[in-house]
């Protein structure tokens, strides 16, 4: 595999003895655990890529008798399904990762926010959770986890919208600051981490930070789980070392006719064939929460973009004008250009609108609509017009 630069890794689903590992973790001090995370260079696996060690450090520094660990399992990004697989196969490591995070920041309570679309997993997860609580008790440690179900809202994957939802309100993002580590769910200091981040953190404690940084690159340490879909003979879940180029990825997963890869879902970037070789998948190139969608030459990039914009128009919470109106106008705009009701130069105006949304929208949803819009229109302009 070395010659392709694409290395398969087995960390997330690796078999471990959770009891032994948690025993080891609970003997460590909060500072030791956090130092391990800082040394590992682990960045959040949900997509935004905030350094996990820093998040835990900030939350640990807050003085409060009540803190929370929230596991973000509101996996809604189009093309992402790895958190479902992780919860299905190794939920004991998710629960274990939450307990370790709890030890690091001084929290006794954890909440898993599971998207409504995954409710079918709940009976199995409840059994696993029962076993986990029993194990934690045997170790003599105090940490309690609850599950909270979402009800079908993409925006609730945004951390502060997720807190609002847990509090029984509309999932509308809050103003920041204050950040969650200062005032999160129920206005208490909160570390909110993605499902995969928590499992990776647990495995860093298992193998040590030194082992982890052997994988990946300076900006993107370690490995991560990719969700591969679209025009590929081998769709599914793959854990790969970070730092490969899109070309290397396409060599492994393409169908021989790949014209574009959407990296990071609808809110991510579209990489056209001519840029496959120079584009690194990671924080130094195009970041991804794991979503990798391949398109071959039979696909219309207009239809792809239309589908994404339709998605954002429906999923925008409607709270701020740049996002609510911006998504609608981008969608209407490409329809007009396609029908010939607007000149092709109108696309330039729409590109400016996408830029304005990046600056003016309140949260990550509205700010990132421009990623897909600009990279698709920029690289496939003629497909949008004709």
């Amino acid at each position: 595999m070395e010659n392709t630069g694409l290395n398969k890794v087995d960390l997330i689903f690796e078999k471990i003895d959770p009891k032994e590992l948690l025993n080891k973790a609970f003997k460590m001090s909060s500072a030791e655990i956090i130092q391990n995370m800082l040394d590992s260079g682990l960045k959040g696996r949900g997509g935004a890529g905030f350094p996990t060690g820093l998040k835990w450090k900030y939350a640990a520094a807050e003085k409060s008798s009540e803190k929370y660990i929230v596991c973000n399992a509101d996996e809604g990004e189009p093309g992402t399904f790895k958190d479902r697989e992780i919860l299905d196969r190794v939920s004991n490591k998710v629960h274990g990762g939450m307990a370790i995070a709890g030890k690091a920041i001084g929290a006794k309570n954890g909440i898993v926010y599971l998207r409504g679309e995954y409710r079918y997993l709940l009976p199995k997860l409840m059994i696993e959770l029962g076993l986990f609580h029993k194990m934690i008790k045997e170790i003599g440690y105090d940490f309690n986890i609850e599950y909270f179900m979402g009800s079908g809202a993409y925006i609730c994957g945004e951390e502060s919208a997720l807190f609002e939802s847990i509090e029984g309100k509309r999932g509308e993002p809050r103003n920041k600051p204050p950040y969650p580590t200062v005032s999160g769910v129920f206005n208490k200091p909160t570390s909110i981490n993605n499902v995969e981040t928590l499992v990776t953190a647990m495995m860093i404690i298992h193998h040590g930070a030194k082992d982890f940084i052997q994988y990946g690159t300076k900006d993107s340490r370690g490995s991560k789980v990719f969700s591969v879909s679209g025009d590929t003979p081998t769709p599914g879940i793959f854990e790969l070392e970070l730092g490969m180029t899109v070309q290397q990825f396409v060599n492994e997963f393409g169908d021989g006719d790949t014209k574009a890869v959407q990296v990071g879902g609808a809110s991510g970037f579209c990489v056209p064939r001519k840029k496959f070789a120079e584009t690194i998948i990671g924080f130094e190139g195009v970041p991804t929460g794991g979503s990798m969608m391949l398109f071959n030459s039979s696909r219309s990039m207009y239809n792809v973009l239309h589908n994404y914009l339709d998605f954002f128009t429906e999923e925008s919470c409607g709270q701020c004008t740049p996002c609510r109106v911006g998504c609608q106008q981008l969608l209407k705009g490409i329809e007009k250009v396609k029908k010939g009701e607007a000149k092709s130069t109108y696309l330039t105006e729409l590109m400016k609108l996408a830029d304005s949304m990046r600056i003016a929208a309140k949260c990550g949803l509205g700010q990132s609509v421009g990623n897909a819009f600009k990279s698709i229109v920029g690289n496939f302009r003629e497909e949008i017009i004709y």
């Binding site: 093309g79 399904f81 509090e167 509308e172 998605f311």
Partner: protein, 154 residues
């Protein structure tokens, strides 16, 4: 229309009457009755001592907390890109023909509702649908009609 009866009282007892219990209470009503009536929402507001507008405001934000009449089996067909590329339209066509309704409608006997939904996390096994909470994946017209036939017998 259903009578909400003692359900809201029971659920408020089970989950508590804090605002944070609102979502679980509404979710369980929907699990039992498929959608929320005005009466049910007013009752929840009374139990939790918040305004009915707050309850409606929260419920109407979430696509799974329906405030319109829905059938016993709610079929949600994923329309996001991969499912759309891999034959979503055929699945919709088959369902519309079998159930004699269009997307967005509910059958006259209130057994089935057909709606489109955004990404449900099964892109590698597209096209996919949810019937209530159960996912069905890698569908073809044949497969989906077998599945619906089974539900019709239930």
């Amino acid at each position: 229309m259903y009578q909400v009866g003692n359900l809201v009282k029971e659920l408020s007892g089970k989950y508590g009457r804090a605002r944070g219990s609102l979502m679980p209470i509404l979710q369980e009503i929907v699990q039992k009755h498929n959608y929320l009536t005005d009466e049910a929402m007013v009752e929840v507001a009374r139990e939790l001592d918040i305004s009915a507008a707050d309850v409606y405001g929260t419920a109407s934000f979430y696509t799974f907390l329906d405030t319109q009449v829905k059938g016993k089996y709610v079929i949600r067909v994923c329309k996001t890109i991969t499912c759309s590329m891999k034959g979503k339209s055929d699945i919709i066509q088959t369902l519309e023909d079998m159930l004699k309704i269009k997307v967005g409608e509910t059958t006259a006997n209130k057994q089935f509702s057909l709606i489109e939904t955004n990404c449900i996390g099964w892109c590698h096994k597209a096209p996919a649908i949810l019937i209530n909470e159960i996912p069905y994946t890698e569908l073809t017209s044949e497969k989906v009609s077998e599945i619906i036939k089974d539900y019709m017998q239930k």
